[in-house]
């Protein structure tokens, strides 16, 4: 990282020195000068590539606990940007090793397109995936039925969620395959 940061550091510092000599950092309006970043950028530039300590740190004593399968309402933060998904609601489950979160709504750039975004984390493998699946011109999607509770912590990750379209039709999201189909078990949507 920061192939060019050295230049920025020097430039920011130069601005800082000049502005300091001139008596301030004021900009148009209330916006502050990038020279304020100089000290922090210099800090980054000074970080070594080896640790002075070779003593291993203790690993955490306990492993993550499962998270019971649960619906996520509108008050729960969404990690997915509005440019990708206009979210209606979500659903989450974790068995302590793998975590699956599904967010339903409409495509950020086209509200006529129904979309779900699946966030999957595998802590043991150090992997996180984000996958968007479009349902076509369904309007926004809402999760209306899903496995819930502790009993579903493991099994739910390959189960299915029921989705309702803006027009009141129902679809099924197969979490194992990541495919959306019309109910009852119709052909996959285009």
């Amino acid at each position: 990282m920061f192939r060019l940061l050295s230049v920025r550091v020097a430039a920011a510092t130069l601005v800082g020195v000049a502005a300091g000599a001139g008596g301030g950092f004021a900009l148009a309006g209330s916006i502050s000068s990038p020279a304020q970043k100089a000290a922090a950028l210099n800090r980054l530039a000074a970080v070594a590539t080896t640790d002075s300590s070779t003593t291993p740190a203790p690993a955490p004593a306990s492993a993550p606990q499962p998270i019971p399968a649960q619906m996520l309402g509108a008050d729960v933060p969404v990690p997915i940007a509005p440019s990708i998904l206009r979210e209606r609601n979500g659903w989450l489950v974790s068995d302590g090793k793998t975590l699956l979160a599904v967010y339903a709504g409409a495509a950020g750039n086209d509200p006529s397109v129904g979309r779900v975004v699946i966030v999957s984390q595998n802590v043991a493998a150090g992997k996180q995936t984000v996958r968007a699946i479009d349902a076509g011109s369904t309007g926004e999607l809402t999760i209306t039925a899903a496995p819930l509770g502790r009993a579903a912590e493991a099994s739910a990750q390959t189960g299915s969620l029921r989705l309702r379209t803006a027009g009141g039709h129902f679809l099924t999201l197969d979490l194992g395959t990541g495919r959306i189909s019309r109910e009852p078990h119709g052909a996959p949507l285009p």
């Binding site: 192939r3 130069l14 530039a45 300590s53 990690p79 940007a81 440019s83 979160a101 150090g126």
Partner: protein
């Protein structure tokens, strides 16, 4: 002049520390989920270790841990509500950040890391937070980042430093409240404040202070991404995003002091542009003004 000389010396030492080959290789950024502080620490430790093992090149990379929406938990406690709807105090988050530092140290192979305490502006006022509360959220976020730096220093983790970050999305909160995150961070004074949010709804051409979503303007995005200690690490998921951020950069350069540059980009998989294409899209419109960081949710 001594400062300048020192800086130039540092600059020379750093200038080519990262190879071009590794410059735009993505590193994983993590959404944080957990049902307890203990969970959060375990996940953070694993993320720090995984990050170190996979870190490309010998330069510095940002380990971005997104703890969810900034929140005021009670009259004197700030923190975040994570993506599993669990509320964590800043003390919990600092403990998790320290475990991430431990994990990186134990698994360190090459290079260095800037561990960033990330949050978002998701529905701050909707949760009851005032502008003053948001200011304190930014202040304490920077404070905890400095606490993490103290921890890193005390442990001899000299390949590490720490900063703050926020997914500031125009659609999620008003500009007036969101700006307070940046102002609070500035007032505390430690942490660079990486904006890994969007310029949603902003114009895709020109350099005027046009309107964006939710009452925001281009100048507001400029403020939260480049004023004070803020640095842009914008979400580039579509070419439209690169266009919007280019307008922000042009507005800044036409109306404010200093040359706006990007720390890099935040990308994702499974939608729109690939991570490498995301970085290239922004760089093609802002050649020479995009640093090589490529934080990726989903890589």
């Amino acid at each position: 002049m001594r400062l300048l000389a020192c800086t130039l010396t540092l600059a020379t030492g750093l200038a080519w520390s990262a190879t071009v080959a590794s410059a735009t290789q993505p590193v994983t950024a993590w959404y944080m989920y957990g049902s307890s502080g203990s969970d959060l620490k375990s996940y953070a430790y694993a993320h720090g270790c995984d990050f170190a093992q996979a870190e490309p090149g010998t330069g510095m990379r940002v380990l971005l841990l997104d703890f969810g929406a900034a929140r005021k938990l009670d009259s004197s406690t700030w923190g975040a509500v994570d993506f599993s709807n669990t509320r964590f105090s800043n003390a919990d988050i600092l403990s998790a950040l320290e475990r991430a530092a431990d994990g990186y140290h134990n698994c360190h192979v090459r290079g260095s890391v800037d561990i960033a305490y990330g949050n978002s502006n998701y529905h701050l006022s909707g949760s009851g937070m005032s502008s003053t509360d948001a200011w304190w959220a930014g202040f304490h976020q920077s404070e905890r980042s400095e606490d993490l730096a103290d921890y890193q220093s005390s442990k001899g983790y000299t390949s590490q430093t720490s900063d703050a970050a926020s997914d500031m999305e125009p659609s999620w909160e008003s500009p007036s409240v969101t700006k307070q995150l940046v102002s609070g961070d500035q007032a505390q004074g430690w942490a660079l404040y990486y904006d890994f949010g969007s310029a949603d709804g902003c114009p895709q051409s020109g350099n005027a202070d046009g309107a964006c979503n939710n009452g925001w303007h281009v100048s507001d995005v400029g403020y939260v991404s480049y004023a004070a200690l803020a640095l842009p690490l914008p979400e580039i998921y579509y070419t439209a995003n690169a266009n919007q951020w280019t307008v922000v950069r042009k507005w800044w350069n036409a109306n404010a002091q200093g040359t706006y540059f990007f720390l890099g980009v935040t990308a994702s998989t499974g939608v729109g542009l690939t991570p490498t294409a995301s970085w290239a899209a922004l760089n093609s419109l802002n050649n020479g003004l995009v640093e090589s960081e490529l934080a990726c949710f989903g890589c």
